[in-house]
């Protein structure tokens, strides 16, 4: 269904952005993305092995701007990029799970800096993944293989560290993505513990939600989390191929399963240019294409529109949170 009504909220499918592409318009195995100013979108593509890795810079209106970065160990290059975030100047920060480094570039992709040492001492990282920037331009990074979160200044100076390996409160099992809410609380997708944990900005455990399940409210290997202005929490439920939505206290609200019934303009152009593809699409049930396949990253914009990136579908589905929705008569 295109519109999901639950617990007094309305989540309405809007449109999607993206297509399978090795360069230029489109994405290839998106791992994460960031929303910039002027409706700019930065999509971090893992690509296929040592080719096609890049950051796709485009707009929410499907205008391609540039491909940034490529595979490698050099400046401005990545091996296993995992997370992307922007600071207030729209400088780009990318974590690399393979090199355990953070690369900083300006919004045009010019290399600025690279920092991070591989290791498990405080300030070192092993397999950094999710990354978020707070209002002071400090960085929160999931130090995944070390099962902890670390806070850094934007030039890489460690400011705080919390977490350890395990399944108790404040412990992690290969956590992946994270986000901040308006109060500066930190939400972490605790990947192999199948839950989200909420912390204060200084690392004090506040709450957890989600259980291992493919049923109502359950999670399977959540990869990312986002919080809207009402405090509702959206989780990329990677293993179950859905997005789970929770109230601020963790009570389950609704599940989104993907609704991309209308192709993105890029996809439509491709279909129009390939009559055989158009034919093939007309003689099969296309529902499988609408649904999420490996939702891997979630973000919200200032209007609480939800963006969901799918690693296997190479696109981003967009939902709006309707504020003035009136139900249609039920007896139509």
């Amino acid at each position: 269904m295109l519109t999901t009504v639950a617990a007094g909220r309305v989540f309405d499918y809007s449109h999607c952005i993206g297509m399978y592409s090795t360069s230029g318009i489109g994405f290839l195995v998106p791992m994460d993305f960031a929303l910039g100013s002027n409706e700019t979108l930065y999509v971090l593509n893992r690509g296929v092995d040592e080719i096609t890795l890049r950051i796709s810079k485009c707009t929410l209106k499907h205008e391609f701007i540039a491909d940034i970065g490529r595979f490698g160990m050099g400046d401005g290059q990545f091996v296993w990029p995992m997370g992307i975030a922007l600071d207030s100047e729209e400088n780009i920060y990318v974590t690399d799970e393979n090199t355990s480094k953070v690369t900083v570039m300006d919004k045009d992709g010019q290399f600025l800096a690279k920092w991070g040492d591989a290791g498990s001492a405080e300030g070192q990282m092993r397999g950094p993944s999710g990354i978020a920037v707070d209002g002071a331009n400090d960085l929160f990074i999931v130090d995944s293989q070390n099962n902890r979160v670390q806070k850094f200044s934007k030039d890489g100076r460690r400011l705080a560290t919390w977490g350890s390996e395990g399944s108790g409160p404040g412990q992690f099992n290969k956590p992946w993505g994270l986000c901040l809410d308006a109060e500066g609380n930190v939400y972490v997708a605790d990947w192999k513990n199948d839950r989200v944990q909420k912390f204060s900005g200084d690392g004090r455990f506040l709450a957890e939600f989600g259980v291992t399940s493919d049923g109502v409210g359950g999670l399977s290997r959540p990869t990312d989390v986002a919080v809207d202005s009402d405090g509702d929490v959206y989780v990329a439920d990677w293993g179950n191929h859905q997005v789970q939505i929770y109230e601020p206290d963790g009570k389950f609200i609704a599940t989104l399963v993907g609704d991309a019934q209308t192709p993105s303009p890029w996809v439509q152009d491709y279909i129009d240019a390939n009559p055989d593809v158009a034919k093939a699409r007309r003689r099969t049930n296309m529902e499988v294409e609408w649904r999420f396949n490996r939702p891997i990253a979630v973000n919200l914009d200032a209007d609480d529109r939800l963006y969901v990136a799918e690693a296997v579908r190479h696109r981003i589905q967009v939902y709006s949170k309707e504020r003035d929705y009136a139900e249609a008569a039920i007896n139509l």
Binding site: S21, V29, D49, A280
Partner: protein
């Protein structure tokens, strides 16, 4: 401590039923016993043998990409890292027997799905496997059964089912092929969204009753309104089928046979062994585990050490496992997949439905150079975990004369058996440096360096090419 013969036999079993094992694993398995290890291999867990969440976290392109290299690399990763060696090895066996190629299928995810079916069903029974194969979308497309219609048969699948997948040339008639093809009409592929432009979608098997020939058929002396499953039921009851499969199993797991096209005129190398496997087949109702249990516990298997030329996949994967530097997600796995191809075995893309020619035909000048260079490069790198373990094993043996040094290296790298000529060549090299000593830092460093060279030389021997 297990004796040398036990270690050698266990190493033989693990080379054939898997992709080799480290010395530590061999000793652990020897402690549990040979028959117990055979049972462990034959009874793997229900899972695929890999933590797939970890796999797709670190290699998301494996389930997202449409490129052949991603599919090939995923399979190589599984071969190196699986918890269930025989599950992966039997998948390779069925891939080589039921050769399906991306050259025509042009859909690597579907090829990978076929291999996953071999992994899941490969140790069940032959009738089930043939039904799964007949309903496998990549196979349907590969052998044109989607073009096999009521009143207008396409014989490709029916012919190869009999000729290359079950009975072998000479045991059926042209009419049997036609009748079998009629029985498989309507067995086709369901529609799906095209893979472009939003990524992969999987085919599914679809039976279309309106396109199926429900009429009476005569097949191998039987008459009835047969469908595809009935045809397979008849095929698997034939002793010719048992013999054909037995010969394939012998060729893959025991010792190299002549190439398949010669089988109708060339008897097996070991008739008694084939008879034993045929009996296991007929007694068990074509149960794959029962046949393999008989095979691995037989004297002919135990006596067949180093009588099988490693396929490129066996050589690449077993050497990577021995070197120990591919036991985790890392970059570089595509190179292992490429290496198989460069040595003559591009996985999921055999040269034809007749599959690769095996045994000595794996070897030509170019392939041999690649095989030697690949193995020598890895085994001479004393920084790699597996090579370090070999060094530790050498150090435990203390000061070694040149002859003891050569024997120890051969032992720890396999054990590998070499003939006198090869041994003398290795010994000549070893004698240039005198005894191996670990007493001082300097002598230990020199010994380690010499051991690296010796391992590279062993990797370059004729004997190392055999499993």
């Amino acid at each position: 401590m297990p004796n040398q013969a036990d270690i050698a036999l266990m190493a033989h079993l693990m080379r054939r039923a898997g992709f080799g094992a480290s010395r530590a694993e061999l000793e652990e398995r020897c402690a549990r016993g040979y028959e117990a290890t055979v049972e462990e291999l034959l009874n793997p867990g229900a899972d695929s043998g890999i933590d797939e969440d970890e796999l797709y976290r670190h290699f998301p392109q494996f389930e997202s990409s449409l490129a052949p290299v991603a599919a090939q690399t995923e399979w190589v990763y599984r071969m190196v890292n699986t918890r269930w060696p025989l599950k992966e090895k039997i998948a390779l066996f069925w891939h080589q027997l039921f050769a399906t190629g991306n050259s025509k299928v042009d859909n690597p995810p579907e090829m990978l799905a076929q291999v996953a079916m071999f992994r899941k069903e490969g140790l069940t029974n032959f009738p089930n496997l043939l039904v799964q194969l007949a309903q496998n979308p990549a196979m349907i497309y590969w052998l044109d059964n989607n073009g096999n219609h009521y009143g207008s048969i396409n014989e490709n699948w029916g012919r190869e089912l009999l000729e290359l997948f079950s009975m072998g040339v000479g045991h059926y008639s042209e009419d049997d092929i036609k009748e079998a093809s009629r029985a498989f009409t309507g067995w086709t592929i369901g529609t799906k969204p095209p893979r472009q432009p939003v990524g992969r979608f999987y085919w599914s098997f679809e039976f279309r009753p309106e396109d199926h020939d429900y009429g009476e058929k005569e097949f191998l002396g039987n008459t009835g309104n047969f469908d595809g499953s009935d045809i397979i039921d008849i095929i698997v009851k034939q002793e010719d089928t048992a013999r054909f499969l037995a010969r394939h199993l012998y060729n893959f797991f025991v010792a190299d046979e002549p190439q398949v096209p010669a089988w109708s005129i060339t008897p097996p190398n070991d008739e008694a062994a084939i008879d034993l496997l045929v009996k296991a087949y007929m007694d068990s109702g074509a149960d794959i585990k029962a046949i393999l249990r008989a095979l691995f516990n037989s004297d002919f298997f135990k006596e067949a050490q180093f009588q099988h030329v490693k396929s490129p996949a066996e050589l690449v994967v077993s050497t990577a496992r021995l070197a120990g530097n591919y036991y985790q997600p890392r970059t570089g796995f595509p190179l292992l997949a490429f290496e198989c191809a460069w040595q003559g075995q591009e996985l999921m893309n055999p040269p034809s439905v007749e599959s690769w020619h095996t045994g000595s035909e794996w070897i030509d000048g170019g392939a041999l150079v690649r095989r030697v260079n690949f193995a020598a490069k890895l085994l001479s790198d004393t920084s790699l975990p597996g090579v370090k373990a070999i060094m530790a094993g050498l150090k435990e043996r203390g000061t070694l004369s040149p002859a003891e040094f050569v024997r120890s290296c051969l032992d720890l790298v396999g054990p590998v058996e070499v003939d006198d000529g090869t041994f003398q060549e290795l010994l000549t090299q070893a004698q240039q440096g005198g005894d191996i000593s670990w007493e001082t830092e300097e002598s230990a460093a020199e010994s380690e360096k010499r051991a690296g060279v010796m391992l590279a030389m062993i990797a370059a021997t004729r004997e190392f090419q055999f499993a």
